[in-house]
């Protein structure tokens, strides 16, 4: 079998399962008693184990297997989660992730997991605690209780799914209760004969008591078998009862409903096991307290919903194909405009109608094509709760991460790039923002700090905010360091506003941390954050109040491929100006232009702003506003700086598809890219940021 064909599927699914494991473990940490979470963790681990074993990644499989063993105990209430187990499981997850990453990178997925496996095994055996002797008896004591099945809680997840699948694929699944004559001498032999018969006609999924127990005659008079068989119900019953010394055989056909019942009742033995567990509790508790006393917890809650999200039906598509689709579609848009022009020239009503219909369909299509590329920010956010938890633990801080708006959608290309800057911002908040527990208490704040991570739409932009209730930015220290590091001169410093000073932390080579820590403070973080976000066409700002907290606000364009723009004319040439940076358009008379130090300025909304001649910047061959008594202007903005640029004529607003100028033409001043207009011509897109100095 060619495994490569399955490799990408394996990688995708493994990543999904690892992510699910991570999320569920975090949830479980917040609610250690919730066994339904353990169930879903167990399911993910189990699937992962199966997949990696099939693909031949043995280390991956064996580590998952050990984790599964531990989880199985927890699931059956034979083991209580404590912070040691959580940490071990998280470490296990990290190792699994590293192995999967290795496989992604073309490696063999091999890793030395013996240490982790040993720890997991010791947890499994229950002797990981110092006072192991007593604690170890807890699972042992609990074991018999759990083994005694209540009602029909016999099937585990795996067996249930096998039965379910065979039912779905049209096989017959049976639940058989066999009783043997009271005076039978060789009960094991009779049981063997029944098994032999069942194995000849089908497959045994599960027996109770287990096969070993049956072989050693460790059963009373009856036993239960779950089997998949080719035979009809009556035939099977008749054949079993025809074996000598078998008293009765009750064969029940299983359908999906009864399977569900068997599965649901599984919770019952758990209840029974609980009292047994409590007996061993005190001894186990003392050990646990020691371990968890100084550990800070980082609970995280996804405010959106704690209920498992409804499973949506999806397929995976290569992003390149979506790009191709996008390109093809934008070509079609251009043809559409041509057709509309032709139709209006030819003036045949049926042609016009057809073209109009096509126009409607294609604008629907455009919406869909654009939506296809949109991904919820959750795909980036979902790794943060875990990250914050680990950071908080290593720094001895208590931090809640509250995520809102995780379903906000962004273009895939933006999503791919935004992860690292957000990691930087969050690390910065944990390290520099939130204070240590002592300091928080001294400042009269709750000892658990809160970081809000919000995402929301606003117009053509998506905002992502990282806000914490920590110490805030110390204005004076920022200034000191900025002056020391030569970011600003002392003279400049005097004239800076508070906000401007806060923005200094984004300058290259700036770090206010007194100590350099692992987490942040190498003085590269925020500088990189800003340049990355700017390169995505976005913007980052910071607001801070000393002692109350800091808020970083990242503004991002909704998509990098289609933007709204104002089309303008300069003589024979057409240009596009992104609507996002336009404040307004106006017409001014020549008398309104003022001269200040030889620079042209105009008065606009009670302030004086520079007037820039676009035709001069772009060296227009056949237009100059100098000949006109009245000029159209576009007022643009960069941050809070404004400027007016003169244009010849407005064409109108339009959605344009962004195209790059290619590798040959790079760094063209004042031009950020190109687009193709309805007539098939290329128009350049003006970069307003380059016009405002």
């Amino acid at each position: 079998m060619d495994m490569n064909a399955y490799l990408s599927m394996f990688i995708d699914e493994s990543n999904d399962h690892l992510q699910a494991l991570n999320e569920n473990l975090l949830q479980l940490e917040g609610a250690p008693e919730d066994l339904t979470i353990v169930q879903s963790i167990f399911r993910s681990a189990h699937t992962l184990k199966g997949m990696s074993a099939t693909m031949g990644y043995e280390d991956l499989a064996s580590l998952t297997h050990e984790m599964e063993n531990v989880l199985d105990l927890v699931r059956n209430s034979k083991l209580k989660m404590d912070s040691f187990i959580f940490d071990t499981l998280f470490k296990g997850l990290d190792a699994l992730e590293a192995m999967v990453q290795d496989i992604v990178g073309g490696g063999t997925g091999k890793a030395d997991v013996t240490a982790l496996v040993a720890v997991l095994q010791s947890i499994f055996k229950g002797d990981y605690k110092s006072n192991a002797a007593v604690a170890a008896s807890a699972p042992a004591a609990a074991a018999p209780a759990a083994n005694k099945p209540a009602a029909k809680g016999l099937l585990d997840e795996f067996q249930t799914s096998i039965l379910q699948q065979s039912i779905e694929s049209g096989h017959l699944a049976y639940h058989i209760t066999v009783s043997i004559n009271e005076d039978c001498v060789l009960k094991a032999a009779r049981a063997y004969m029944v098994f032999d018969l069942l194995e000849r006609t089908g497959e045994i999924v599960k027996s109770d008591p287990s096969v070993q127990d049956l072989e050693q005659e460790k059963f009373d008079r009856s036993f239960v078998v779950f089997t998949i068989s080719k035979l009809a119900q009556e035939d099977l019953q008749q054949q079993i009862t025809s074996i000598s010394e078998i008293e009765t055989a009750t064969v029940t056909l299983l359908d999906e409903e009864s399977l569900q019942l068997l599965h649901v009742t599984e919770a019952a033995p758990v209840q029974e096991a609980a009292p047994a567990e409590t007996k061993a509790e005190p001894s186990a508790d003392s050990a646990k307290n020691e371990a968890s006393s100084q550990v800070s917890s980082a609970r995280s809650q996804t405010a959106a919903s704690s209920a498992p999200a409804a499973v949506s039906r999806t397929i995976r598509v290569d992003i390149d194909r979506l790009d191709t689709l996008m390109n093809l579609f934008s070509e079609m848009l251009i043809d559409r405009v041509r057709l509309e022009q032709l139709a209006s020239e030819i003036k045949r009503s049926d042609l016009t109608e057809t073209v109009e219909h096509m126009a409607r369909v294609s604008s629907d299509l455009q919406n869909i094509v654009l939506k296809l590329r949109m991904v919820p920010v959750d795909t980036v956010f979902n790794r943060f709760p875990r990250m914050i938890r680990d950071l908080a633990k290593s720094l001895d801080k208590k931090i809640d991460l509250v995520i809102t708006g995780a379903d906000t959608e962004l273009d895939r290309t933006v999503i791919d790039e935004i992860g690292d800057p957000l990691v930087h911002l969050l690390r910065n908040s944990v390290d520099h923002g939130i204070e240590t527990i002592d300091k928080r208490i001294a400042a009269g704040k709750p000892e658990t700090g809160t970081i809000h991570l919000r995402a929301f739409h606003s117009g053509n932009n998506v905002f992502i905010e990282v806000e914490e209730d920590g110490n805030g930015i110390n204005r004076d220290r920022v200034l000191q360091i900025a002056i020391k590091n030569g970011v600003v001169t002392e003279a400049q410093a005097k004239s800076l506003t508070n906000d401007e000073i806060h923005m200094l932390i984004f300058a290259a080579g700036f770090s206010t941390a007194d100590k350099i820590s692992d987490i942040s403070g190498r003085g590269v973080g925020l500088d990189v954050v800003r340049s990355k976000i700017t390169s995505l066409g976005g913007n980052v700002t910071v607001e801070s109040a000393l002692g109350k907290g800091t808020k970083f606000s990242v503004q991002l364009p909704l998509t990098l491929s289609i933007i709204s723009a104002m089309l303008i004319k300069l003589g024979s040439e057409k240009y596009a100006i992104p609507l996002s940076s336009i404040v307004e358009t106006a017409i001014i008379k020549r008398e309104q232009v003022l001269e200040v130090h030889g620079n042209k300025m105009i008065e606009f909304r009670n302030s004086v702003i520079p007037l820039i001649s676009l035709s001069r910047v772009l060296e227009s061959p056949d237009y100059s506003e100098r000949d006109e008594a009245e000029t159209e202007i576009v007022v643009i903005r960069k941050g809070d700086k404004w400027a007016a640029i003169t244009v010849d004529e407005f064409i109108g607003q339009s959605e344009i598809v962004l195209k790059s100028l290619g590798k040959y033409l790079t760094n063209i001043e004042a031009v950020s890219g190109a687009t193709i207009l309805g007539d098939g011509q290329v128009a350049l897109i003006i970069d307003p940021n380059a016009l405002i100095k």
């Binding site: 290619g662 033409l665 004042a670």
Partner: protein, 153 residues
């Protein structure tokens, strides 16, 4: 006997030039070109090549041959070298021929006013026909563009 090489033959002034066929993406008629400001004068601008924006260079200008008005025969040859995709405006694209690599001689210092480093060699075709083979990576060399810009300033 050397290897066979398939080349596209195009005309520029009175000379005939050749580019290996596998470097050529497509040959197009002249379409409207959008000027790009603040670029060297031989960069004529960009065109829309079926949805992709491709820069266009006037080869006459690039070689300092003196630009002329385009004619009915003018073509844009779109070549791809490495990651670059660029269109060349040429006077005419005539032919596709096979040449023997053995017939390519190293170029003399200056051919028709073009510096030798832009050339890969000169192929003899028959008795009096010469084909000048272009060295694409040098023609598209961006460092030189930067130098040119500095000279202009």
């Amino acid at each position: 006997m050397g290897e066979e090489l398939k080349v596209i033959v195009f005309g520029l002034g009175h000379e005939e030039y050749g580019i290996e066929v596998d470097k050529v993406r497509t040959i197009e008629r002249l379409s409207p070109i959008t000027r790009v400001p603040k670029t060297p004068s031989f960069i004529k601008g960009v065109i829309n090549l079926r949805g992709i924006v491709v820069p266009v260079i006037d080869l006459r200008g690039r070689f300092g041959l003196g630009e002329t008005e385009p004619t009915e025969n003018s073509r844009i040859i779109v070549v791809a070298a490495g990651e670059l995709e660029v269109g060349f405006i040429v006077d005419a694209a005539n032919d596709v021929i096979d040449i023997d690599t053995d017939t390519i001689d190293s170029p003399p210092e200056i051919v028709g006013g073009i510096k030798a480093k832009y050339l890969r060699g000169i192929a003899r075709l028959g008795d009096s026909r010469l084909l000048i083979m272009l060295n694409l990576s040098e023609v598209l060399n961006k460092n030189e563009i930067i130098q040119l810009e500095q000279l202009e300033v």
